[in-house]
Amino acid sequence: MLLLAARFPVPPSSFPQQRQSWKPPCLMQSLLLLTLFGLMMQICRADDGQFPEVTWHGLLDLRYQHSDAAPGELENGLGKLRAGGERDRWRVNEAAATLQVRLDWDSMLNATVKYADRQSTPLDLTEAYLAYRPVGAAGWRLAGRLGMFFPPISLENTGTAWSSPYTLSSSTINAWVSEELRTFGGELRVDYQTEAGDKLGVFGAGLANNDTAGLMLAWRGWSLHDFESTLTGRLRLPEGIAIPALFPKQAKASQTFVEVDGRPGFYAGIAAERPQRYTLRALYYDNNADPAALSAGQYGWHTRFWSLGAKAELPWETTLISQAMTGRTSMGELLGDLRAVDVGFWSASWLLSRPLGDGRFSVRYERFGSDERDYLPQDRNGEHGQAWTVNYNLTFAQHHQLNVEFSRIFSARPARQERGEAAYQEDTLWQVAYRLFF
């Protein structure tokens, strides 16, 4: 199995080379993918009258938010929420639909299209992939995914369209994963399953289009939200800090999923599972970006990290989910042994959840931080902080879910002083959500 692990990260040989001639793909790419789906469905229909089997799942999320917080990403701020500046908001937070097409007994196409509040393209893809998961003889199971999908980091976001059954806001780690990470490529996984259902496996993937991953962690820092970036998505950069002066070539918004240098990245890891008892996952990710690369206003950010996740079923019907991440992101040409931006980042979270009455009660605590070692001290990217999130949700008739959630985030980030704000801030967010699942 170790041999397999070593061989795993097989980068696809022809990644898109999009150096200077990059054009906004938006609608074209989406349409192409959907057409491909349509074609594959046609082919399979011809083969077997019983396949494809088409199923739909979806989510509608209506939200009331009340915040006492600094401006967030949507307001080009350095606050810890996506939007902190407005105190009271009613809105359609998200509407998503997942199409699942079972092509045969072992393969399935999966695509999720989403609308989210102030998403840069109103309707866009968050995932689109072909999954292959056959029944393995004698306990060995080979599985794979091909397309655009979330790397297997979060242990909380297991619901329709990457929603979490525990909280509305994702943890700092999972919020960053949803914002800046997506596998564009292929993933293979080999598991050995015992008679009792225990699984032990290795997995690995080759990926592209993740070259700007790390930018938000360096320039804005960790944050709590539940916004998943989409295929053609862009994220707003903080204003009022040194970015435009020091990096005049940087575009006004970060293009989330773009290939800047034509170099594929990878991740590889191990997973163990005892059904209904525990799940363990560890992976190493390296986007292998060239930190000196720049294309159409987007820099390459060489981001690599370790991710650890554990989920355990404890006595008293309590579930524990803990995740940790530590890594580095580097950008800019070498000057001596330093780069323009070189930020180490880490975060860890602990979530406890249990049924309470007819609903589910969850509480999560997390700590996070970053530090830097680069030649631009005037671009200050260090921070540290901690956050509490408490959620109670009630599910009616399998479809309807009412959530009440409270989050409080304490953080210190010296760069805020350049915006005339205090380095230390406390952000508070109350949320009430009605979610419909179908």
């Binding site: 019983q50 799942h57 997942t98 007994w105 297997p152 329709t160 369209a161 015992t194 008679e195 699942f437």
Partner: protein, 215 residues
């Protein structure tokens, strides 16, 4: 079509006229316990002679994305049909040493049953719906019963001495064997369950159905 199956398969059992009845109640933590397997092995020649000679075919259904029943007890050599009463497909498999198989279930009843020849416990899963979990208890014992939702079980057997063994999928420790002489009064069997066990039931919210993070 699936609903007609039990009537057909149970005919063979009715042909063997029972002389006595051994009944009992399964309990866990003071509450009735379903799915407890009770296997009776005859210790006298009388009991063995009247044991049902040929195993009849049985059925284990897939309904609302669950195995129904959750536990099926069969004598070695019994063919078991796996009908699919859902409108969606199931892909049933077992990695258990007593019987390895996989069966692709369209709607309706598959033409071929699965024959369970070897005694042992066969854990069933569905490749499409991970939470689906079921068991086939395959035994050489002469008489078998499974407790119902009220914890009740009944064995129709001739008078005589029997060795009773018990099995439950979620038992922390399986209940010890007992020797009983029939006729006997109602037997109470208490089982201590594991602190945490898989139920095999579909998730209570549609949020968790059909995604599971894709990995």
């Amino acid at each position: 079509m699936a609903s007609r199956l039990p009537a057909v398969f149970l005919t063979a059992w009715a042909a063997v006229a029972p002389a006595a009845e051994l009944a009992g109640k399964a309990l866990a933590g003071g509450r009735p316990l379903a799915d407890l397997v009770v296997a009776a092995q005859a210790l006298d020649a009388a009991g063995r002679v009247k044991a049902p000679p040929a195993p009849a075919a049985m059925a284990l259904d897939q309904k609302s994305r669950e195995f129904v029943p959750h536990v099926l007890a069969v004598r070695s050599g019994t063919p078991v049909y796996f009908p699919n009463s859902d409108a969606i497909k199931h892909h049933v498999y077992s990695f258990s040493a007593a019987k390895r198989f996989e069966i692709k279930l369209y709607s309706g009843v598959p033409r071929e049953p699965v024959r369970f020849d070897q005694p042992g416990i066969v854990a069933l899963g569905c490749n499409i719906h991970d939470w689906m979990l079921g068991y086939v208890y395959v035994s050489d014992a002469d008489y078998l019963a499974v407790s119902d939702a009220e914890g009740r079980w009944t064995l129709d057997l001739p008078e005589g001495r029997y060795r009773l063994s018990f099995w439950h999928p979620d038992a922390a420790e399986q209940t010890a064997e007992q020797i009983v002489s029939v006729p006997a009064g109602e037997l109470a069997v208490t089982v201590e369950l594991k602190a945490r066990f898989p139920t095999g039931k579909p998730p209570a919210s549609l949020q968790n159905q059909g995604y599971g993070d894709g990995f």
